[in-house]
């Protein structure tokens, strides 16, 4: 039987969302693994770029931060933050962003700021960085999460980045022209959002994971009626991940790095 890590399964499950021509906004960890896997396996004409301004780097080694020198080597262009964010929101581009978060709610809104009171937090995280910006501007956002009840919550302690906001048409009513939460990829499965209500539902559960496990790991009720089992990674996919995408095995074998507790 094929052995693979959570990160590998997540990267491949997320990578399948990427299409040729997409402009993919990547972060670090499983996000860059997914973006690179997408380009090498599913969508060779996708373009990976970073909020720091590095556009289409060669990625011979995997960056450990979006400002890693590996995000600026072999690029088409090294620009700056302002140029990068203006790309995310450009009307002529279809941009897909990979994000991570400490908390998510049923509408795909994200918290990367704090747990507890904003002014006296029990836990402080790194903050928005570019997350609020890409959640505002990208054509779609795919979020990576550790699937735990305390992370899938009824109400965020702080809404850093807008997903479908309060559901239904509320995102549009904020004045945001496009975008919204496309999918959530966790260590247990893939969640998507209902067309009308914009509520999260279970789309796929990973091999070896039960629907019951996912329901009990989610802090709000979740529709599982459409769930199907995801395909396991193929040996060919894993080989590309391990030998081409992450030859140093910095991310493939690690556990998902969520913001610290």
């Amino acid at each position: 039987m094929i052995q693979y890590s959570d990160n590998e399964m997540m990267a491949l499950a997320a990578g399948r969302f990427i299409k040729d021509g997409d402009i993919v906004f990547a972060g670090t960890g499983v996000s860059i693994l997914a973006a690179t896997a997408a380009k090498r396996i599913f969508a060779p004409k996708a373009v990976i770029f970073f909020e720091t301004g590095g556009i289409d780097p060669s990625l011979d080694e995997i960056p450990m931060a979006v400002a890693d020198l590996r995000a600026m080597a072999g690029t088409s262009l090294n620009s700056g933050l302002i140029e990068a964010f203006s790309i995310v929101g450009h009307r002529k581009l279809h941009t897909v962003a990979f994000l991570g978060a400490a908390q998510i709610d049923r509408y795909g809104n994200l918290n990367t700021t704090c747990i507890g009171d904003y002014f006296k937090p029990r836990t402080r995280f790194s903050g928005s960085g570019g997350a609020c910006d890409v959640a505002t501007f990208a054509s779609g956002v795919i979020t990576f999460m550790q699937h735990e009840k305390r992370r899938f919550v009824e109400k965020l302690d702080y809404l850093t980045s807008v997903g479908w906001y309060k559901g239904g048409n509320s995102r549009k009513e904020l004045g945001l022209r496009r975008g919204g939460a496309l999918a959530v990829v966790t260590n247990l499965g893939v969640l998507r959002f209902h067309e009308e209500t914009k509520e999260m539902y279970l789309a796929e559960y990973f091999p070896g994971v039960t629907i019951g496990k996912i329901v009990e790991s989610t802090g709000f009720p979740i529709d599982t009626s459409m769930a199907v089992e995801a395909d396991a990674p193929t040996p060919g996919e894993l080989q590309i991940l391990r030998e081409e995408v992450d030859p140093q095995r910095l991310i493939c074998q690690a556990v998902l790095a969520a913001p610290q507790k």
Partner: protein, 325 residues
Amino acid sequence: MNRYPEIADRLMGLDEAVSRFVKDGCQLAIGGFTITRNPMAVAYEIVRQRVKDIHLVCHSNGQALDVLVGAGCVRRLEIAYGGNGRYAPTCVRFKKAVQRSEIEFEDYSNYQMSLRFLAGALSIPFIPTKSGLGSDLMNYEGFPPDIRREKKVASKKYAKMQNPFSEQRDEVVLLPALTPDVTILHAQFVGDDGTVRMKGLTFADIEQAKAADAVIVTCEDIVPRSFIRTDPDQNSLPPFFVDAIVKVPYGAHPTACYGFYDYDPKHLNLYRKMAEDDALFREYLDEWVYGVSSWEDYLTKVGMEMILKIKANPVIGYAPGLDRK
């Protein structure tokens, strides 16, 4: 000094650059991004000179921010992101300072902070964006009203308005410009005419420099005017924006400098571990900041073995195969 006549009045040591331009209570912007091109030598010198009550304004600064916050130099912080990538998903001393209510802080996003620097660079009082609509960034003002009246603090976190060119509802966020007292940057090259050339990504460094009253640039080397002016399309800042120039090879260590050296994973991991504990963090500062008598002394502590390991391949730009765990 005689080799550089055009910049003789701006060439100085770290001690003079900091004592002349980085005053108690000043508003300070830091170039670089998380683990790359942080002006660390200047940050350490600020700690050594025990500058107090700094009002730090950053997008995603990492290592320099955390050292300055940890050493108690920072009173007030406007920030988008306090992290060091995989080496510290949240910067440790920043995290503790917020959790312990030791600093005044206000959150923005990276684009918002970059646009605020751009507005300062363009001498416009504010700049519109859609980013922030619906986010708690726009619901929580970090600074209380009494701070709002102080110099260099915006009178409010943001304003909202209807786009006057649209008849449909079209709301935008207006962000106040930032005009720091001083911006500190680390660049690969400064010409002996004062022209600055950065290689690789420039982040928001150029906007941060143009927005500031004074700019300190440390550099890997000072190069002849004839070199830097042969292909001026590559240059980043003209001489007249630069107030202090300090030659500090490896001046961004333990963060990276494209074409010169990679980040130092061993030091970043050591830092994170020591920063987790108050007593160990004091030891870190004693050993790596207060206890070093010169930059040469600091690099000697880093050690020749690591200096060779992180040396960048000058064509590839980083150190291929470096053990980065």
